[in-house]
Symmetry: C2
Subunit: 389 residues, 2 copies
């Protein structure tokens, strides 16, 4: 490890691309003839292969969950706060697997990959995906890494949906499911915000009906707008008030002046939108928000969450945050109620935080304490399985 | 009254345009050389001119607050629920004045009016406005109608801000101020949503930097997006859940089908956005959201709401709605706390409703009861002034 990194960091990490030659049949009925997943792993798989933890990313996430890609990196991976030596997902004890999901735009097969049928980028023709398609591709990844059962599948937001779907698709291959700031399905309001974001992208003249790559354009403005809409819903009203209030970035309210006045929050949001639009793919954004909208854990279990969870064999940790209004504590309580009614083991914590939905990524002593205590038990179980092996 | 209308309707009404020849100096320092206001009135001004009630509209409102313009109209004015014979704002007792404010797009002088300096529509060059500019133009209107003191100035949302500004600008000319679902200033989150809406409008290629009229275009798509964003924030998560849930309008989740799936809420929102974009002016939308952002009741009173309200001489009714997250009950409580600290008479009601911010426009028995009781006292006072005259 490079000693310029903090001692509780996984340090320098390197993503690798894993190729899967076997076709993957998708929920929509179409087939991906082959696919790549870009993956990072932290820690070592033990000899019983009992300590593997799968990290499922959220809407804009990817494989780079912890550590640094170069010694010059200013920011670590997106969940570095909770993954590393001595951290709740303790890389001294766990073998941590983080990936970019199919449909993504960070190196795994998605709209920017080449469609073998045409020799051109998939673009708008990339098949629509469901969370179960991610689970199935992740299951192939597990097999390739020699993992027959995950110690835990862990995710926040959309990642929590991914984790819950694992618990139902392959009940005997997950010992623990950790669903943070998540929900069994989106509300109408969630869908509404996603639809507005999609319309913003689609109505950008540079979108070209999804075919922007072959036009040599990028729908930057539409994607920036989509991100700005999303971003407001990730933050709490309280947090925005504390962080920005009504502070001005330019202009003045002095009478007589007609110069443009800009609030700090406007400039912040514009920056968030514009930076995102440089690094993210618009077709991926459309595809992932549709996946989110369509996700409904209990749909094929007669719309009965208890019936759905009765198929699970794992134990659950469910966490929500008091000011999260995108996936509110009520959504997590619905998960917990269904788990209890299905006689499942579940630990639930509703964490006091003023950080809104983004709280699942951010430092918080109580959240860290709950997460650490739960994962400590998961690690002990994994270590017991080595001794039993 | 046309007997095809309900007996508690003001029936057929006719807007009129009132011209003001005297220049109006605006808060920005610029001057409107003359202006028009389009106005509707309901009921009769009594001989003491003590029963006049001013209705202040919200962001997308206008002068048509009650009654019908033609016998064929399917919908009455926007606040017909609360204005009419026997209704809380009882037109048998009050002389009700509703107007479209300057900057508007429904007939009063605004971006679509002719700029006398150029002979062309003002468009993007219309001066930026503050709520006090509305108050000053409304003061001219009062003078023209022979009203030296309003029995009440009443408004919801932005209209409530307008009403509160009246109470501070002309303390001796308002006996009652009714501020419903309002706030002393926007939060950073409110500003953020407004800024996203503005960016959606400005980035529409048909916007032409605000000069769309001379290009013969309309930024319909940008305005539709802006309205969709606004609309989601007017509704509560609960209401959207009850009204739309996750019902589909087209498509199916059956495996194998690749047809587009559309949720009801998506189609509803699209309809809201598209209809709005046909009737509203984009420059007015920009101007009004900026007015909203800049509104800060206490700014020139040392940022002290108590100091601000200590200038008021009227009594206050403040109403909020439990599921309103755009102007939450907390914002109304801040108004009430400041009024109490300033030793003002205030009645406050936080109304149980699942309708979100839009609740102020919609039927609700408890809201109606509180509103009616308060306005009954206002009417009695007005009637006493006739007897004393």
């Amino acid at each position: 490890m490079n000693n310029r990194f903090p001692t509780n960091s996984v340090g320098l990490v390197k993503p690798r691309i894993i190729h899967f030659e076997e076709p993957l049949e998708l929920a929509c009925g179409r087939i991906l003839p082959h696919f790549d997943l870009v993956v990072e792993t932290y820690g070592e798989l033990n000899r019983a292969a009992s300590n593997a933890v799968l990290i499922c990313h959220a809407l804009s996430g990817h494989h780079h969950a912890a550590g640094f890609h170069t010694p010059e990196d200013k920011k670590p991976g997106w969940w570095d706060e909770y993954i590393g030596p001595g951290k709740p997902i303790d890389t001294n004890r766990f073998y941590v697997v983080a990936l970019n999901n199919i449909g993504g735009c960070h190196g795994s097969t998605g709209p920017r990959a080449i469609n073998p049928a045409t020799g051109k980028a998939w673009g708008r023709d990339f098949p629509p995906l469901r969370a179960r398609d991610w689970v199935h591709s992740q299951s192939r990844l597990a097999a390739k890494l020699g993992i027959s059962q995950w110690a835990a599948v862990v995710g926040g937001s959309l990642g929590g949906m991914n984790a819950m779907r694992w618990a139902l698709e392959y009940p005997d291959r997950v010992r623990h499911c950790v669903a943070i700031a998540s929900a069994m399905k989106l509300s109408a309001q969630n869908i509404a915000f996603n639809e507005i974001a999609r319309r913003a992208i689609k109505s950008d003249p540079d979108f070209h009906n999804g075919d922007y790559l072959s036009h040599g354009t990028l729908p930057r403005n539409g994607l920036a707008l989509a991100r700005m809409i999303g971003h407001v819903t990730y933050l709490s009203d309280e947090l925005m008030g504390t962080r920005f209030g009504r502070e001005l970035r330019s202009g003045t309210f002095e009478r007589g002046l007609d110069a443009p006045i800009e609030f700090q929050v406007e400039s912040y949001l514009r920056h968030q939108g514009d930076s995102f639009s440089e690094i993210f793919d618009a077709n991926t954004y459309l595809l992932m928000t549709k996946l989110l909208d369509y996700f409904d854990l209990a749909r094929e279990y007669g719309d009965d969450p208890v019936a759905a969870f009765s198929h699970a064999q794992c134990k659950f940790l469910v966490v929500s945050f008091t000011t999260d209004w995108r996936f509110s504590p009520q959504r997590s309580r619905e998960i917990v109620d269904a788990l209890i009614a299905a006689n499942k083991d579940v630990v639930y914590a509703n964490i006091e935080s003023d950080m809104g939905h983004d709280a699942f990524l951010l430092p918080n002593a109580r959240y860290e304490g709950v997460f650490r205590a739960y994962m400590d038990n998961v690690a002990r179980e994994a270590e017991q399985l080595v001794r039993n092996a």
